[in-house]
Symmetry: C2
Subunit: 346 residues, 2 copies
């Protein structure tokens, strides 16, 4: 049952719109009070947040946009919002009851009161780590699944390249590619990450892009016959090198371009004419358009997780206070694996 | 019947690989001799060329390529080859007989002896201008048809933008869009061309891109609600402006990027992340992959031409000698409408 006591509620507040690289000081910690009960005139739910997800797309929410875009900006002076795993403390919505575990768009705070219940999925399977619902079994997992299968049109034997391959999305893309019988190469920004790709996630090959002076030559080395599917996570110079190495009728699901998010002037890509000459399909997607496939995804992925056929590496920051640093770390590639923040065990 | 007499054969010879803008002096006229008969040991055909087509993609054939690409380079010292309309003078191939009219990949010369008969279509309908088979009823027409319908996925009410809109492909794309019930805007590089778009081809709006200091603002003016389909013919800065003005789930069939072909260092496109945020599908194609649809295309387009519902403007250069200048003129936009060369009436 819901407690009626007022408790303190630590929050991560977004201070103001950001230009260039975000800093921890773009956020601040504030402690307010919250009543652990949904007001009588509301149909909302009151959540105790357990895990928060740090995702690259959040950079876009820190900017002020002069035209409408795929995300809304954070509200200066209000808590950051993002995907997370939470426990329902109180509910006046018929679909949720106290004790339910959910994942969805919550606040960067200890407790969140929200009426946006459509943004939450009930967690039905708890024999797998609960934190997975911030990534593998949440938005990032769905992103890998949709981008690879729906847009990538993979078939056995395809040559697949994944950038940012040890990240929340990339590590799963590589494993899905292996399950499909593809040859898969990943790149990442440190030796540790490259080791993970080869030894933990089963990529056929992996390389540290920071150690390659000539990305074009590196890709030619790993793909002497070219790339069928490039799962695009980074953009810029990497995309340019990839376009030179795509095969005819190649596919490029465009998941993100993290290398560009903090540049005031993004890099130019100069060889787009390859799209014509190689009949390339380059296609962007927003995972939110595909959540109707979530049950199908769970049905596919859960058995693989239970059988140990899918690995997932998480980089867990401890405590709400560590969330700003964890988020910022994404943009310099500090995280190894899926970045999340644990703020309560239950 | 074939004449056995040897006749003189004027040819346009490709001198050497080109870097940057091509010049007339990259080609030269040579006169050789040819016997108007297919040799007995050959299964080829001997053609009298009537019309030659000047097409933007030919620039790529003037370059030396360090990797295989969608076209083969012209052979220095040999005649230019390209699409054209010709009459069969002699044949040792079962599918062709003297007197047949054909269109396909012929030589820039008065007479062509070839065994590559797969590269020719027989012309069955001669109640329309024969020259149309260099464009509207040939490669350019098929390009417009395939790019617009197969890749553009148009539906009634879609907002369509066409660059290089008065060219061989663009003028048809605009008219197909109108037939489909779309709102269509074209851009071109002169007042005459803009007038054609509005008054001859029925575009809803048209503008001279050379008179727009801010392409982004120009597109915003014509597409206050954004662009659903951009038929890409030019690349570079125009593509960048378009990406900023695309609507969610927009499609960009990438037919060509003529503004970039002669640049040693093509322009960079800096805002590709729009592909993700707007879920854009950008897809290249080579018309040669779709020639199986040619009968279906003819069935659709011929009635429209006969009923005067499709207009087609040609820019006709007279005589083989004028071919080099006509070809070069494409890259500065000198042609008004489909550029072709007439070398014989029949």
């Amino acid at each position: 049952m819901a407690s009626e006591s007022e408790v303190s509620n630590k929050q991560i507040i977004f201070k103001d719109y950001v230009v260039g690289f975000p800093k921890e000081s773009d956020m601040e910690i504030r402690t307010s009070k919250i009543l652990l009960k949904v007001p009588e005139d509301s149909t909302g739910i009151l959540l105790k947040n357990l895990y928060l997800s740090c995702d690259p797309y959040m950079r876009s929410r820190m900017s002020k946009h002069d035209r409408p875009t795929y995300v809304t900006s954070f509200q200066p002076g209000s808590p950051i919002t993002g995907y997370g795993v939470a426990k329902v403390v109180d509910s006046r919505h018929p679909n949720f009851k106290a004790g339910d575990l959910v994942w969805g768009m919550t606040g960067w705070e200890e407790y969140t009161l929200t009426t946006l219940t459509d943004l939450f999925f009930k967690i039905e399977h708890t024999d797998v780590p609960l934190s997975y619902y911030t990534g593998l079994l949440g938005m990032a997992g769905m992103t890998a699944y949709v981008g690879f299968y729906e847009l990538g049109s993979p078939k056995k034997g395809d040559r697949v390249y994944v950038s940012a391959a040890s990240g929340a999305v990339g590590q799963l893309v590589g494993q899905l590619a292996k399950l499909t019988g593809c040859y898969v190469v990943g790149s990442a920004g440190s030796k540790d990450k490259v080791d993970l790709l080869k030894n933990k996630f089963g990529f056929d090959e992996a390389f540290n892009y920071k150690e390659e002076e000539d990305l074009d030559a590196a890709l030619r080395r790993y793909f002497p016959e070219g790339i069928d599917i490039y799962f695009e996570n980074v953009g810029g110079k990497m995309l340019e090198a990839v376009l030179s190495n795509m095969r005819n009728n190649g596919r490029i699901p465009v998941c993100g371009m993290i290398s560009q998010y903090n540049l005031v002037e993004p890099e130019g890509v100069h060889n787009l004419f390859n799209i014509t000459t190689k009949r390339i399909r380059m296609e962007g997607f927003i995972v939110g358009d595909y959540y109707h496939l979530y049950p199908k995804y769970l049905e596919m992925i859960l058995p693989h997780i239970r059988e140990g056929k899918i690995s997932y590496v998480e980089d867990v920051a401890e405590g709400l206070e560590s969330a700003p640093s964890a988020l910022i770390g994404l943009y310099s590639g500090r995280n190894v694996g899926k970045q999340l923040v644990v703020i309560a065990q239950e």
